[in-house]
């Protein structure tokens, strides 16, 4: 199981590095909060009371999306800047291990930010978000987003346009994640059971499985000259 150990080594390294500086992490969190605040300004004038609950799922996922993009950018840009990607490429492990390592660490960072966002969100929007089904949706959505985002981030980090290009490439492709996550979240907030929103989280699951599979086949071409 050398492969798995090396994947986890990459995750460990990312966590240690981030704990030391905490800069990306705090940026993600502050940014997510800011998005919520802006949403409040944007919709507050016309949306009050019950209608806030209609907007809440969308606002939540937009906040997660933007924070996620920050996290994804960081995943590879830092490696690129110090030329560290080559150190990973030199290692005697299949390059897909880099993909999985990066994807897992991105998912972990996003989940922590999302977990911290939930109480903030509950406070700002007055909507109760502490629901097990919702947690599952958030996990599935984050996995899907990071799954395809890591492939794209590995590419865009090596281009001229860098951070700007990632959202342009990612958002259309990850639209199903957004659609399914928002729909499922709305359903659950409206009191539906997991069975009733099965359609949506099944779509998420399919997405979660599909793109790592694609990454497995194509990642080598992205990182190796």
């Amino acid at each position: 199981m050398g492969y798995l150990r090396k994947v986890l080594a990459i995750v460990w390294k990312d966590i240690v590095a981030e704990l030391r500086t905490k800069e990306m992490f705090s940026a993600m969190f502050v940014f997510a909060v800011l998005v919520i605040v802006v949403f409040n300004f944007a919709f507050d004038l016309r949306v009050t009371g019950d209608r806030v609950r209609e907007v809440a799922p969308g606002a939540l996922w937009v906040a997660f999306t933007f924070a996620g993009i920050l996290g994804l950018n960081r995943a590879f840009v830092a490696e690129r800047d110090s030329g560290c990607l080559e150190g990973l490429l030199l290692a005697p492990v299949d390059h897909t291990a880099i993909y999985f390592g990066k994807m897992i660490s991105t998912v972990l960072f996003m989940l922590v930010v999302e977990a911290l966002m939930l109480p903030v969100f509950t406070a700002f929007f007055g909507v109760n978000l502490f629901d097990l089904g919702l947690v599952l949706i958030i996990v599935l959505g984050t996995l899907g987003f990071a799954g395809v985002g890591t492939i794209l981030s590995a590419m865009t980090a090596q281009t001229r346009a860098r951070e700007v290009l990632l959202p342009i490439l990612l958002l259309p492709v990850a639209a199903p994640v957004l659609i399914a996550a928002v729909k499922a979240t709305s359903g659950i907030l409206d009191g539906q059971t997991m069975a009733e929103v099965a359609l949506w989280w099944q779509l998420l699951l399919a997405f979660d499985v599909l793109f790592p599979a694609v990454a497995f086949m194509t990642f080598d071409f992205i990182v190796k000259e």
Binding site: I151, L152, M155, T159, A161, P172, V173, F207
Partner: protein
Amino acid sequence: MKRQRDTLLIGMTALSAVMVLVALYLALVGAPEANLSSETGRYAQRIIYFHIATAWVGFLAFFVTFVGGVAYLRTQSRSWDIVALSSAEIGTVFMLGVLVSGSIWAKPAWGVWWVWDERLTISLVQFLIYVGYLMLRASVEDPSRRARFSAVYGIVAFISVPINFIAIRLWRTQHPLMFGSSGGGLSDDMMFAFFFCLATFTVWYATLMWHRIRLENFRDDVAQLKQKLLD
């Protein structure tokens, strides 16, 4: 040999032009009128001949880009990269055509410039993916890396289209559309015009591809000559 190919290309270009003119006639004049109540509605319905044909080419072009990408990754041959690139450029234009023709239809038919129905939405998403493809290419200088990245993005994007379509379709059925979907039964004469347009646009696409690939090959030749002189 080259003479023959040039002649063939000219022939194809001429054929495309003729077919487009014929298709225009059929669509705007030749085909029988639709069984709709309003006059503008009847007239606007004619756009269906071009609208769907354009969408068909948009999708075909996307598929060709996908195939070109996969083939490039396997063979590392520049020719496949050129095919993928050319198809993406042409596809972008056709996709834009879908959106514009959809808009032109929507206004007289439903009174609004845009509706978030499933087909238009997926076309919009596909258009944005194409644009992303071109922007990705524009920001990578090394030709080999550019080809590799485009190929991978082409694959990722192509695979996301069916999922996108499913998601958008499911999304739409949750909010039933105020406006009914179009089309329905087409009469035999209409069918002829319809399929003729489909064929026309496909031929047109192939011609454009040929021209574009030829152009890119010339560019490569020039770059190579330049490099030889510098060495």
